[in-house]
């Protein structure tokens, strides 16, 4: 699964730490999600999408290998 959290963060101009605080996880978790090392749970993807005010599919998408 890939995502464009980094781009979305830049649009609303918040840091990894600020996003982490908004969705209630550690900054490291946001970091590993952005670098595609950790696949977040459904609850967390929905929370992240809510912060950006967009549907989940616009931020997260499946890859060929998924």
């Amino acid at each position: 699964m890939k995502n464009n959290i980094r781009v979305e963060r830049a649009i609303i101009n918040i840091t990894q730490a600020e996003l982490a605080e908004k969705v209630g996880v550690s900054r490291q978790t946001i970091n590993t999600i952005e670098s595609n090392k950790y696949i977040p749970s459904t609850v967390l993807t929905l929370k992240i999408a809510r912060v950006f005010g967009k549907p989940v599919e616009e931020i997260f998408s499946l890859e060929e290998t998924d």
């Binding site: 996880v25 550690s26 970091n31 590993t32 670098s35 090392k37 967390l44």
Partner: protein, 168 residues
């Protein structure tokens, strides 16, 4: 939710959230217990040369009665180390999020793998009084390995997050 009483639902929800872990600060109590046990053990050994095995009633050939001072000392120190290890291993992280939960379970799985590998190996290749040492090893090895593995993974996670931060 309608099928079970609301109060049960609340209880289940709370249990799922707490995840049966000790508070963050209990790791320091655990560390203190283990550190305190070292001088106590050294003092005891200085007063009673010969070590546990001669004094402990569960050793073969020992004539020490159950719950005599050496036995109570053995129970006490073992409990101190075990409780200490448990508190260190299963205290919450500062932010206990879903990735931490995954890393915790991953480390626990590796600890079980290693423990059973050593257990099987020693069961096949040792006999007699050595088997008692296997039991002693099994008491603390899985917890200790879990603690080291988990802390190492957390350290790596923090390091990669930090190096990423400097890149941005």
């Amino acid at each position: 939710m309608s099928s079970i009483p609301y109060i049960w639902y609340c209880k289940l929800d709370r249990m799922a959230k707490t995840k049966y872990l000790f508070p963050y600060n209990s790791r320091f109590i655990g560390l203190a217990l283990i550190l305190v046990h070292i001088p106590i053990k050294l003092l005891w050994d200085a007063y009673y040369p010969g070590g546990y095995d001669h004094n402990n009633p569960t050793s073969p050939g020992s004539e020490t009665p159950l719950f005599s001072p050496p036995h109570l000392f053995f129970i006490g120190t073992t409990l101190m180390v075990l409780v200490g290890l448990f508190l260190i291993a299963f205290s919450k992280e500062k932010i206990e999020d879903e990735q931490i939960v995954q890393l915790r379970l991953d480390s626990l799985r590796w600890a079980i793998y290693l423990n059973y590998a050593i257990l099987l190996f020693t069961l096949v290749f040792t006999h007699g009084s050595d088997s008692k040492h296997i039991l002693m090893l099994n008491i603390w090895l899985p917890l200790l390995f879990f603690i080291f593995r988990f802390q190492w993974v957390l350290y790596r996670l923090n390091r990669s997050a930090k190096s990423d931060e400097t890149k941005l």
